[in-house]
């Protein structure tokens, strides 16, 4: 049972509320730069919006979902009350204060730097301080997850750590370490300039430090979705998890390989040598392995459900799946989007092919499809599954839930496929408007309209989602059966030490970060010539 319902609900509701606001900004951005709207007279409004949309969707929303889900997993899988509940509320408060501190100057136009910061452009210090507070607030969660797991292990010596908690703590440690890159950039490079202690900055070094965070943060966003794949969906559709060991191996590999690969975001940059670019490209190839293993294990688990329900034949079992079950539907949509997005990712990570698409709308399409599509649809699924246990009330709107999931899936495809297409044609990202009368651009207006329509579907879907959750709070009370996670065909009775804790994998993660980032960072720190004057935006202070 969850004894910390209020804590979990507070995290989820704040996450989904800011998500609801940020998605409106996203759709507005699509609309005003489409041929449906004239040129924006003040382009800065667009960049304020992009900054807010990215900051909320990239930092605040997924972090809160991971934290809320993590606190729930902690109690549900370990079957012990959360240790450090007061600290958890402190972390939550820091995220609220940080978000407000960050978003207010952005709205005032003092910090149109996008969520990727882009020094030597420097905005108002409050934005950066706010982001730091959000990150530090989430680190409280990281520590609490570790503390709770260790307490459980002391109380249950030698017993296998429940898979959901194993994965949850892997996600926490991954986030704890990957956030260090951006934290170093903010604390040692950007804030000293924003606060007036210094006026030069090494932009190349900033980009390398940010790339330390920028890729693994995506895997941190993804972890709750993968935890749901392994530990919620098989149970919800009446199946069994095909392999507990493979699940643990996948999470361990994510921890190790999602970190030392961020320089694949910098293939087109002049400040990193080709050797390190190549190494990061190869390691990026390796990080596909845990995803490919996951696809197999989950498909096999789903097949078990189908055969238990009487499914027959090589493909005939697909018909026997419970397609009216929201978890089944969400999983199927998620996998389709993961398939397309993953294929696009393989193109991005390929050393050479990347130059065709770098910084074009293709990239916008790629990460919206993977994160907004494959991952966020599983956030919905997690909320639908947990909500009755958090409110003690039955989830009654099953057909509305299915409509919501369908809308999200169709909306995401309609939004992102045109982006991929025009990206190949060379349409750049982050533009407040396009000159559709220019030769070479005139044919591309229609694709922006298509994305705008897709975005409208996403807005409707998001509103439906919020409505469904809200209505549940006043639904009839129901005696919910105790929450359970998926059971594996072969539940582990004892595990090798390496798969029953994260020490080895955290060690490897740190070691690989040092080998893959140590030299480029040290080299750039030594390049004093590359210290360039800061360019203040939003008015000089």
């Amino acid at each position: 049972m969850i004894s910390n319902r209020r804590l979990v609900l507070a995290h989820f509701w704040l996450a989904f509320a800011v998500f609801g606001l940020a998605i409106l900004l996203g759709e507005w951005q699509m609309f005003i730069r489409s041929p449906l709207h004239g040129w924006l007279h003040n382009p800065d409004l667009y960049y304020r919006s992009v900054t807010a949309h990215g900051t909320v969707m990239g930092y605040v929303f997924p972090t809160l979902v991971a934290m809320g889900f993590g606190y729930a997993i902690c109690e549900l899988s370990l079957d012990q009350p959360l240790i450090g509940r007061r600290w958890a509320w402190v972390g939550y408060a820091m995220i609220i204060v940080g978000s407000v501190a960050a978003v207010v100057p952005v709205a005032l136009g003092l910090d149109s730097v996008l969520y990727t910061f882009y020094p030597p452009m420097i905005g108002n210090a409050f934005y950066y301080i706010g982001v730091v507070l959000v990150v530090v607030g989430s680190w409280v969660w990281v520590v609490l997850m570790g503390v709770n797991l260790n307490a459980w292990k002391r109380a249950h010596p030698g017993a296998p750590v429940p898979l959901p908690m194993f994965a949850n703590v892997a996600a926490a440690y991954l986030w704890g370490w990957t956030a260090v890159g951006a934290a170093l950039e903010l604390l040692f490079q950007i804030l000293p300039v924003a606060l007036g202690f210094s006026n030069t900055i090494n932009a190349g070094l900033s980009r390398v430090l940010f790339s330390w965070t920028l890729h693994a943060i995506v895997y941190f966003w993804l972890m709750p979705a993968y935890i749901a794949f392994y530990t919620i969906v098989p149970r919800a559709i009446g199946g069994r998890l095909y392999s507990d060991t493979m699940a643990r191996v996948s999470f361990a590999l994510f921890l190790v390989f999602s970190m030392p690969i961020g320089i694949h975001h910098l293939f087109a940059d002049p400040q990193v040598g080709s050797g390190f670019k190549f190494i990061h490209s190869v390691f990026t190839a390796m990080v596909t392995i845990p995803t490919l293993l996951t696809v197999f294990t989950i498909c096999a688990s789903v097949e078990i459900a189908a055969r238990l329900r009487g499914g027959k034949g090589v493909f005939g079992w697909l018909k026997a799946l419970p397609w009216d079950n929201p978890q089944m539907l969400a999983l199927a949509f998620s996998f389709v989007m993961l398939g397309f997005g993953g294929a696009g990712g393989l193109i991005n990570m390929s050393y050479q092919l990347d130059s065709t698409v770098h910084n074009t709308q293709w990239i916008t399409g790629h990460f919206h499809l993977i994160f907004g599509g494959a991952v966020v649809i599983m956030y919905f699924a997690i909320a639908y599954d947990l909500w009755p246990h958090l409110t003690g009330r039955a989830m009654q709107d099953l057909s509305l839930i299915r409509t919501q999931l369908w809308l999200w899936f169709v909306g995401m495809i309609v939004t992102t496929f045109p982006w991929h297409y025009v990206g190949i044609l060379g349409m750049p990202r982050r533009m407040a408007y396009f000159d559709y009368s220019a030769p070479g651009l005139s044919g591309e207006g229609i694709t922006v309209i298509m994305s705008t329509v897709g975005g409208a579907l996403l807005v409707v879907s998001a509103l439906l989602f919020l409505l469904i959750l809200y209505r549940n709070h006043s639904a009839s009370r129901a005696e919910t059966t105790p929450f359970t996670f998926s059971r594996a065909i072969h539940e582990p009775t004892s595990l090798p030490l390496a798969l029953n804790g994260l020490g080895l994998w955290v060690g490897l993660m740190i070691a690989l970060t040092i080998t893959n980032y140590g030299y480029p960072i040290a080299q750039l720190i030594g390049l004093h010539d590359a210290q360039v004057p800061a360019v203040f935006i939003g008015g000089k202070r």
Partner: protein
């Protein structure tokens, strides 16, 4: 396999592990093949991202050195290749119109005078970040004559969306006639 849950659990465990291993082997092989293709293209066609960590002081670009305004544009080298020097700044490229010959080895050298910019040339694989403090160098060759757009693709401030340049690829002999009269070539829109 569902029916065999209650059967000999050792057998099913061995079976599931065997199938898993087969899948893992297949996936690792596919990824290894992709990496092999990357290595082959990298070495065989010397196709690699631009990568030489070369620094330059952006605050003196306009005063002296390679990127003074009179040295920007396309220059014919003694060996017949062409070097194009470009500076990006908020919110334009200099020169705004770049002219290059077709079927000729071309080296781009690009840097920024202020913040981070980027450039790509539509319809080609040319794509680079442009960063203050660093010089981006990359080589290419245009197959045929034609006009391309060259947008800045990295957010560089409120005027970012208006930062577009043009690239004119002209026939090799047309270009050499143009080059006979001037030291550095640019074009008009």
């Amino acid at each position: 396999m569902a029916q065999s849950f209650s059967a000999n659990s050792h057998d099913t465990a061995a079976l599931t592990a065997r199938i898993e291993k087969r899948w893992a082997f297949l996936m690792v092989s596919i990824i290894a093949l992709l990496v092999a293709i990357m290595i082959f293209t990298g070495l065989h066609w010397a196709m690699m991202p631009p990568s030489r960590v070369e620094t330059i002081d952006p605050s003196t670009l306009h005063v002296s050195g390679e990127f003074v305004e009179s040295n920007l544009g396309s220059a014919v080298e003694p060996n017949g290749s062409v070097t194009v020097r470009i500076v990006g700044q908020q919110y334009s490229f200099t020169p705004q119109c770049i002219v290059v010959p077709s079927k000729t080895p071309i080296t781009f050298r690009v840097t920024s005078a202020d913040v981070i910019h980027g450039m790509l040339i539509t319809g080609t694989n040319i794509n680079s970040m442009v960063e203050p403090g660093y010089i981006s160098t990359f080589k290419t060759e245009f197959e045929r004559a034609g006009d391309h757009l060259m947008p800045c693709h990295e957010y560089c401030g409120v005027g970012h969306e208006a930062m577009w340049a043009n690239v004119k690829v002209v026939d090799k002999d047309v270009f050499s006639k143009m080059a006979a009269n001037t030291r550095r070539l640019t074009c008009d829109l």
